[in-house]
Symmetry: none
Subunit: 125 residues, 2 copies
């Protein structure tokens, strides 16, 4: 992006455990002198898992079966209309499920929701 005058260390979080990764991200987010690497960005150092995956089980966010259906279709880039058609439901219902998905995944939009879900291991891209 730009030359860094201040010695800010860019840290990439590369941890398989979504919950732990999330926690570290929020923990490090507010530290001055450290910046979390944006996805795809080259980082100076990386945080990697050092222990067998024992810390926390990937806390499966409690999604209803229907929400999972909607989520995978969203990850395919399907619109609400497409979701409705492929699931045999109305667009309103599709939007309903998307809405609660955004809520549960703490996302601001469907793109954010898919990214969050992928990061936290709820789905695989």
């Amino acid at each position: 992006m730009s030359e860094e005058v201040a010695p800010v260390v860019v840290v990439a979080i590369e941890i398989s455990d979504p919950a732990l990764a999330d926690r570290l991200a929020s923990l490090l987010g507010g530290v001055t002198g450290i910046r979390l690497a944006t996805p795809g960005e080259a980082a100076a150092v990386a945080l990697v898992s050092r222990e067998a995956q024992a810390v926390l089980q990937p806390d499966d966010i409690e999604l209803t079966p229907r929400e999972r259906d909607v989520l995978v279709l969203m990850a395919e880039g399907a619109s609400n209309k497409a979701i409705a058609r492929q699931l045999g439901i109305s667009v309103h219902t599709a939007k309903f499920h998307v809405g609660s998905l955004l809520d549960k995944l703490d996302a601001t939009g469907r793109t954010d929701a898919v990214a969050h879900a992928a990061r936290r291991g709820v789905i695989h891209l």
Copy 2:
């Protein structure tokens, strides 16, 4: 948001560069929720140098620098307005870049674009 009894994450610093290691140690020392591992202690995660790890990016889809910037922001769920603001460009230009991104990534929408990019290793979530 619920407050969980979050255990302190033990972080080991395994970086060959003494200056960088030192700097990270002091930066992380004051972060609540994180404790630096004493030498030999079992740590949940480790900070490692990223330069050693080769950047494996199989098929780099030819994206312009600006498109990469936009893509990264898109992956974080940013709207065109947010992209424009964070990149210091107009919403129109943001839409322009998003448009060519959709084109190059063969996506039907921004969610699809991010999913494609993640799948093809252009970015990692």
